[in-house]
């Protein structure tokens, strides 16, 4: 055993061999005859459009689904794990795309759930060693250079923080193969860079890493190998340095025009609220960006603009909508950063799309299915939601297609103010270009948009003006003049108040 390990560490041996793997979900073919090899101690980037089968492949690898056909070998041994714990025991650790944390438990408990350190009270009674647990949790988070209170309840964390906790949980295991499914989807650049530092270190220690992302610039700086899936097949395989256009072509099967936007002119003020440090105003035909680092308060602000009340005293304020139905009635739409918050997974695509405006689709004799079908089919075509099956439960859709359904929901009724929190979270480059194009078109047709995004190029590219937020305070503004750019926004956000 040990001698083989030595051999592995020494040479670049094949660590993971995936041979002729296929997977079906009912009538959908998610993977078809995929063969792939990953060398020991390397970072493989797994690319592909939404629904290409990336998550399915790594779920098979980590024991969540059995493959319908094909073999998987680790170090030349067949490795068909029957469950996630079995895979973890063998050192194969997955950070899934859909995060799972136990909301009622603390950060430390969540991170060390699988292997809580224990001690014996009075030499007898075994119990959890809380101090050791917090210590290790702190050590791991310190490693990632993140500042999260290990005693905080997981449900009080933001999505990005929860993502860091789940990554930390994976790092705590004795990992031989680390699989990350879109880990940076909602992380800001600083956290992303720290994560990459840790990943590079792990690779140098001999851990094999499979990394899924839609951000090609990350692939350039991180990956050693790159595999592209398209429609469940392996479309391309290449080693660094990568040719970006080739990757895009392999992913989409076509050239991509990533330009977005048309001319637009600002109209009347659509919404204006006063915040500590200044006012936030958005006119019709304008895109206002909210820039901020972890804990900026942008999510909270967007939720309040959508009529969600946090229950804190003194927040009754006529500047904000009374409640969510009132906001929707008033033409406001909200795309939350977390898809689980905006879609009812068990409900069909069709019902999810019409849910916010369901009354408008009903007559005295109940739901007007014809009208619903017409609207849903139009929106599914407009946003290119695949598979084109309105009756499919949303949970069967890939992440990016789910995100398009979230947009479709708001387009089904009157909409003149769109609140976006990480709108392209987990969306592939083609869909991202589509969504950017849509946001720009919506603004040129007179809609108002308030956008929060941790993806700075996206934020700056789409916005007419970016308001810098820190803990709910306006700390500055970058407008489209000669200083407009990442540097000046960063300067605002990172200097002390």
């Amino acid at each position: 055993m040990d001698s083989r390990r030595d051999a592995l560490d020494g040479g670049a041996m094949t660590h993971i061999r995936i041979a002729n793997v296929s997977k079906f979900f009912g009538a959908t073919c998610a993977l078809s005859d995929v063969s792939l090899e990953v060398k020991s101690g390397s970072i493989l980037a797994l690319l592909g459009e939404n629904g290409a089968g990336k998550s399915t492949l790594i779920k098979i690898l980590s024991g969540i689904y059995p493959p319908d056909a094909g073999r998987i070998e680790l170090d030349g041994q067949p490795a068909h794990f029957k469950s996630l714990p079995e895979a973890i025991a063998a050192g194969v650790v997955l950070v899934p795309q859909e995060l799972r944390v136990a909301g009622a438990l603390s950060v430390a408990e969540n991170m060390l759930l699988g292997y809580l350190p224990s001690r014996r009270v009075a030499g007898l009674l075994p119990c959890v060693d809380a101090r050791a647990m917090k210590e290790s949790a702190r050590a791991i988070l310190g490693d990632l250079d993140v500042n999260i209170d290990v005693d905080a309840r997981a449900r009080d964390l933001t999505f990005a923080e929860r993502q860091l906790v789940v990554i930390g949980r994976a790092l705590g295991h004795k990992t031989r193969i680390l699989i990350l499914d879109e880990p940076t989807a909602s992380l800001e650049r600083r956290e992303t860079e720290r994560l990459f530092t840790v990943l590079r270190r792990l690779r140098n220690q001999g851990v094999t890493i499979i990394y899924i992302s839609h951000r090609l610039e990350e692939v350039d700086i991180l990956a050693d190998e790159c595999a592209v899936l398209r429609d469940g097949r392996l479309a391309a395989m290449s080693s660094a340095p990568f040719e970006r256009n080739d990757l895009i072509h392999a992913m989409t099967g076509r050239e991509l025009d990533l330009q977005a936007g048309g001319a637009r002119s600002a109209g009347d003020v659509r919404v204006s609220v006063s915040l500590p440090g200044g006012a936030l105003t958005c006119r019709q035909g304008e895109v206002i960006g909210l820039g901020g680092l972890l804990g900026s308060g942008a999510t909270e602000l967007l939720r309040r603009l959508f009529g969600v009340r946090s229950g804190r005293p003194g927040e009754r304020n006529s500047e904000y909508p009374r409640d969510v139905p009132a906001a929707i009635e008033n033409g406001v739409g909200f795309v939350p950063g977390e898809r689980a918050l905006s879609l009812v997974m068990a409900l069909s695509v069709r019902d999810n799309i019409v849910l916010p405006h369901i009354s408008a689709f009903c007559t005295a004799s109940g739901r007007d299915e014809q009208k619903i079908t017409a609207a849903v089919v139009r929106l599914m075509t407009l946003l290119d939601i695949r598979p084109h099956n309105p009756d499919m439960p949303v949970r069967g859709l890939s992440g990016g297609n789910q995100q398009k359904v979230v947009f479709a929901k708001w387009l089904a009724g009157r909409l003149d103010l769109l609140l976006l929190d990480e709108p392209t979270n987990g969306v592939d480059i083609a869909a991202k270009a589509h969504i950017h194009r849509y946001i720009a078109d919506f603004a040129s047709s007179g809609g108002a948009v308030i956008l929060s995004s941790s993806d700075m190029p996206e934020l700056l590219g789409l916005s007419d003006c970016v308001v810098a937020l820190r803990q709910g305070r306006v700390v500055g503004r970058v407008s489209r003049d000669n200083t407009y750019g990442e540097a000046s926004l960063r300067a605002l956000l990172e200097t002390a108040v």
Binding site: V308, A340, L347, S359, C362, R367
Partner: protein
Amino acid sequence: MSFLGRWRTNVVNQIPALVLVAMCVASTLMSDRFLSSTNITNVLLQAAVLAVISVGMTFVVIGGGFDLSVGSIVGLSGCVAAEVMLRAGIFAGVVSGIATGAAVGLANGLVIARANVSPFIATLGSMVFVRGLALLMTKGAPVVGDDGLPAGFIWFGTARLFGIPWPVLAAIFIFAIFAWVLHKTAFGTRVFATGGSREAAFLSGVPVRRVTLLVYVICGITAGIAGVMLAARLQSGQPTAGEFYELTAIAAVVLGGAALHGGEGYLYKTMIGVLIMTVLTNSLNLMGVDSYWQRIAIGVVIVAAAAADQLRAKVN
């Protein structure tokens, strides 16, 4: 492959109906009385009360909740209906019986939706409370009056239209109305959304608290109707009527394949669950299985149904 996959999914989704058919076939083979018209009528009559309760229970379960108080509501509303009927006539009696159910449902809904008490605890409490109220009100004795309940009311419990007992027709009517509400109206879609994900429903503008409140009111109303129907069949208001009905109704809903975590289900499938429960009891009776063994058999069926539900979730 894809054809096989779809076929397998379809078969698994129809397991309850297949079980029902298999049970009917088995009962027919084992007892020649099973298919007699007296027995069929009997099965349908028993199923009618359970069916009406289970209609409301399906709303609550799909809405992500749970209601243990329906059995007690059946008892209380039957007694209230009988008591009022003896003084103020049939119509007033029936209305007040149903209103009693609605009031208990409203109380359940307020405690759960406004005070955020878990449905299990809230309805466990009202199950005991309401039963106590029924016993207190009647001092534990059946409500029959000096010359029995009004003849028109008793007629409803025994008469037939084209050979079908009136309670069965009433159950079918109620099923049809609520199937429309659940599957064809905006409110029904909101119930599914609320049960599927409260947070997502809330952010889609669904008034989740109001929806939660209303499903408990609906459940109270149907339990109230069932109580009145049972009083007509028993020709009296029985304070202990409907004991264990909450469990049978929940079992029927689960047997029909509605997910206990909410957001999924069909009303017609609940009706299949109701028939499974009733046919099971009936054929055990016909075969002369004693009542202790019957309970054991029913317990096994409930657990097996939950296991089948897991299988279904997996295949889907």
